[in-house]
Structure formats: C-alpha cells, structure tokens
C-alpha cells in the first residue's frame, strides 16, 4: 500500500484546476460559500458531503453551467470565469451526469461517437456528400471509439439503443461518451449513485483504469463516503456550502468535523 501511494505521488503533477474563494447563490439560497481547493494533474480528486452540501453546484461551476457571483476559477493557468459548458468542452473538460443525460433514442455506438464531435474537422458540405475526407475521418474516429468500447467492456451493446439498457450499463455508456472527448479533466457526477455493490466495484475499477491508462485527471463527487475513500488521492468535504476538510482519505476519515457532518451533532 505504501509503495503504491508513493508511485502515484510521483505521477501527480502540477495544479491544473484552481478554485479560489468561490461563492454561488440562487436568490437567498447560498449553495457555495467561499470554497477554495485545487486539482492536480493526473490525480483522482473527490468532492464528498451529505445531501445538499453543494457538491453538484461545485461541479456545475467547474463545467460552466453556473457562474459564481464571487471568486475565480483557473484552468490550465487561464481564467475560467465566463466559460459556458460548450466552451468548457472545447477546453478539455468532459463530464457525466447524475441522472444520465444520454441520447436515449440513439445506439450506444452513436452516443459515444457524438463525443468525438469536437475532434472532427470536415465541414457540412463534405459530410453531406460523404466522400473522401469525411469518410476517412469517420473511420479514424471510429477506431478511437472502438478502443474505448473495449476498455469499458461494452462490446456486446454497440448497436442497442441506449434506452433499452439497464441503468448500470447506461452509466458506463455515459462515461464512455465523456471519455471519447479525450478530456484532460473528467468530471463525474455521482458515478456510483443507484448502483448495487457489484456495479459500484466495477465502476471504481473503471475510474482507476481510466486514470492510469489515459492519464486523465478525475474530479468525482459522491454521496457515499466509503466507495470514494479507496480510490481518491485527495478528498474535499463540503457541508452546507462550506469546505470543512481537504486532505488525504485517511486523514479525512478521522476528521471530527467530517464525522459530525455525516452523523449529525447537536450544535
């Protein structure tokens, strides 16, 4: 265990994403208050907290869905404050959704292929005629996608419309689509939510494999503390929109504030 930790520590690089004193409010509801933390290249960073702690809001701020009223976000050394989710995608931030936002009527393959959209260069006319470059491009991207399909072990479902798949597999397709974007940072919104133990374990394995194999930096939010502790390098704990802890899993586990937040204490 100690040797493994050291090996990982070597791979982890510089700060790629820095969140500084971010506050977000919806009318009178303060979703995030003065939250700061950073994410380093190649690490698995977890954001945990009880229900309503502001985890999803945090993820949406990073993804450019929400714009914080105060504070700044720096991604790869550049200010990230006025970025929307399309722009975030072009900069290399991909995400999955808590309530799976796949294209339900399309096949698994087509869903994952949409993840390659940003990497494709042929214009509308070339595609409409469907010759030469457009065809070559499609084949090229198809190869990348096949690699991802194999990686996530969903070969058997290529041609099946996503809506017909069971929940656990849909989650995996969601992950595959995000991965097809070859992001530098992958945001996972409760990847284990609603899964049984076996599915949770295989999802954990996939997350670690992605991190090791593609070198993708992973930010994941999770409600369930147990699962993430085993796979994360560092953990941020949020409660009522505030950061109450930011440390390695072992230290977070022993933190009195965190225990109180999860178990509830009389204030």
């Amino acid at each position: 265990m100690a040797a493994g930790t050291q090996e990982r520590a070597k791979q982890i690089g510089d700060v790629i994403l820095a969140i500084e004193r971010v506050s977000l409010a919806f009318g009178g509801v303060r979703a995030l208050q003065d939250v700061s933390f950073d994410v380093r290249e190649n690490e698995i960073r977890a954001i945990i907290g009880p229900n309503g702690a502001g985890k999803s809001s945090m993820l949406n701020v990073i993804n450019g869905v929400y714009h914080p009223q105060q504070g700044s976000i720096t991604f790869k050394g550049q200010s990230h404050s006025d970025v929307d989710s399309h722009k975030a995608a072009t900069q290399g931030i991909a995400r999955t959704f808590q309530n799976i936002a796949l294209f339900k009527g399309m096949t698994v393959l087509d869903n994952i292929m949409t993840g390659r959209e940003l990497k494709m260069r042929c214009n509308f006319l070339q595609q409409a005629i469907w010759i030469g470059p457009a065809r070559r491009e499609e084949i090229e991207h198809r190869e990348v996608v096949e690699g991802i399909i194999e990686f996530l072990e969903i070969q058997a479902y290529r041609r099946i419309p996503v809506r017909q798949l069971p929940y656990g597999l849909q989650k995996r397709v969601d992950l595959a689509r995000a991965l097809a974007m070859e992001p530098s940072v992958l945001l996972l919104d409760e990847p284990m939510a609603g899964m049984n133990l076996e599915e949770k374990q295989s999802m954990c394995r996939f997350i670690m494999d992605i991190n090791a194999h593609y070198g993708t930096t992973i930010v994941l939010i999770e409600h369930d503390m147990g699962v993430v502790m085993d796979i994360s390098d560092r953990v941020v704990v949020l409660d009522y929109g505030r950061k109450i802890a930011d440390d390695t899993p072992d230290k977070v586990r022993g933190n009195q504030k965190v225990i109180d937040a999860y178990l509830g204490v009389s204030h």
Partner: protein, 299 residues
C-alpha cells in the same frame, strides 16, 4: 368496378399525397432536431414562394431567384436562432412552440409588407395536364406535374434520410434533439446545428412553396397547406422522414378514394376533412404514429 378508374384515383391520390409530404417534411426536420413543433412552417412556405415569385416577376433568372430565395431563408434561420431560439434554450417545448406561433404572424406580415398581398401565378414549365401516351395506352389520366412533384419529393427525402442516418451532422442533429444540455456539454455547437436545421427546413419550405404555388397560385392561402400536413405527421410520426412520405401517401389516397367512393353516399365534399378523421383514429390507436419513436417512461 371500373379498374382503370380505380387506379387513376389511387395513383392520383398518391401523387397528391406526396405534395402533403413535402410540407410535412419541414415540420419533421425541425421537430427532430429541436423537439419543437414549428407552427411557422406554413408561413415559411408562403414567405419562400412569395419571395421567389416576386423576384421572378422582376425579371430575375429562375435559378438566380432560387438561389437568392434560399439565401433569404438561410438569413431568416440565422435571425430566428438569434432572436427566438437562443434566448429560450432549455425552456420547455411548449414555450418554444408558442414562440413559433409568434414567428408565424411576423412572417406572414413581413412577406405581405414587402411583396404586397395580391396573388401571383407561378409557371414552372411542367404542364398540369394528363400524360397523353399513358391515357391512350391504359386509359389512366396522370398529370405531368404530379409525377414531377413526386420525383422532386423522392429525391429530397432520399437525400435527407441519408444525411440524417449516415453523416456526423445527422448524428449531431439527433443528439441535440435528444438532450440540449448534454449535447452542449460534449461540445456540440447547438447554435450552429439549429441554424443548419432551420435552413434546411427553409429549403424544404421553398420547394414545397414552388410546387403548391405552381398548382394553386402563390397567395396567402398557401399558409394553410400546413394544416394538411398535420394529419400526415400524426400518421407518419413527428420525427420520421420516411414517415412523412408514407403518411402523405396514405392521406392522399384515402381522401381521394373516400371522395370518389364514399362521397356520393353523403353528398360529396368529404375530401377536405376526411384526412382529419383518419388522423383522429390514429391518435386513438397509435398516438406515436407509424414510424414515431415509442415513448416509454420509466417510473
């Protein structure tokens, strides 16, 4: 039973149905890509046809006028995207539907403001008279124009179906149709996609406008052909390009056959409303249409 007469009615009905399909196509395209029932499609048909015929009357060359009208339709979709769709991203389909009703009135007013409200004749060079050789050989009267319209619709549909199924743009269109927010987050340029779809729908409106304009004259009543596309859509399914064609064929033939064989029993004149009866029956039995996507909600 007079079989050659039966076939004449049948074929005539199918060809008339293709004309409905042409209009229905425009609805399908926009519905597929943005989940919006574009109430303004009829107004777009009218606007395109009126612009084209007015340019033609100002001594423009046919193809030049066609290209110019197409350019106007593209411009229209850019403006629509900017002023109507973009501010309403992630709103419910009903909100967008209401917005297209507004767009209808703007378009109808605008076209008559610019080009005037008098009816125009339109001559495409294809005569709307029966083909003589066919009439002599088989005693069936089929209009040149009907066949021409069917051919145009066939080519249009084949092209669109290919684009939707086989190209990356088609895939992106379907993705946007399914989930705006997810499409944005994987970097599909929503705005661009909408402009493309509305432009293609504008192109289809232009073609439909030319066909209907050549048959009935270019006038305000053209906006009502959209109403005839409704039963076609209900039959074929709102998101299916082939459905628009099959739906058109069914509506066309049944209303002609009903007029000829059932009409006399009730004193005639049932062609104009029979399509809606079929649509109503379909809504009861198969609300998603023949080719529509079945809606299954998980609880």
């Amino acid at each position: 039973m007079n079989w050659s007469f039966f076939f004449e009615v049948l074929i005539g009905g199918m060809l008339a149905g293709v004309m409905y399909s042409l209009v229905a196509l425009g609805f399908v395209l926009i519905y597929k890509a943005s989940g919006v029932f574009n109430f303004a499609q009829g107004a777009m048909v009218f606007f395109a046809a009126l612009t084209f015929v007015s340019l033609l009357e100002r001594n423009w060359n046919f193809w030049l006028a066609f290209a110019m009208t197409l350019a106007v339709m593209v411009l229209l979709s850019i403006i629509t995207e900017r002023l109507v769709l973009r501010p309403l991203v992630n709103q419910s389909p009903n909100t967008l539907f209401m917005a297209t009703i507004g767009l209808t009135f703007v378009l109808e007013g605008l076209s008559q403001l610019v080009w005037g409200s008098q009816p125009h004749g339109l001559e495409l060079g294809v005569p709307d008279v029966p083909m003589e050789w066919l009439a002599q050989k088989t005693n069936i009267n089929i209009s040149h124009f009907d066949v021409f319209a069917a051919a145009v619709a066939g080519i249009l549909v084949a092209t669109l179906a290919l684009v939707f199924q086989k190209t990356r743009i088609g895939r992106a269109l379907r993705a946007v149709a399914d989930d705006h927010q997810a499409a944005l987050s994987i970097g599909i340029p929503l705005q661009q996609i909408w402009i493309i779809v509305w432009s293609v729908a504008g192109f289809v409106a232009l073609v439909a406008g030319l066909m209907w304009g050549a048959r009935n004259g270019v006038q305000y009543a053209l906006t009502f052909v959209a109403l005839k596309a409704l039963p076609v859509l209900i039959l074929g399914g709102f998101e299916s390009v082939p459905g628009a064609i099959i739906g058109g064929l069914i509506i066309g033939t049944t209303e002609k056959l009903a007029e000829v064989y059932l009409g006399p029993m009730v004193g005639g004149g049932i062609e104009s409303w029979f399509a809606y009866v079929i649509a109503l029956l379909f809504l009861l039995v198969r609300p998603q249409g023949l080719f529509g996507e079945k809606i299954i909600d998980r609880v």
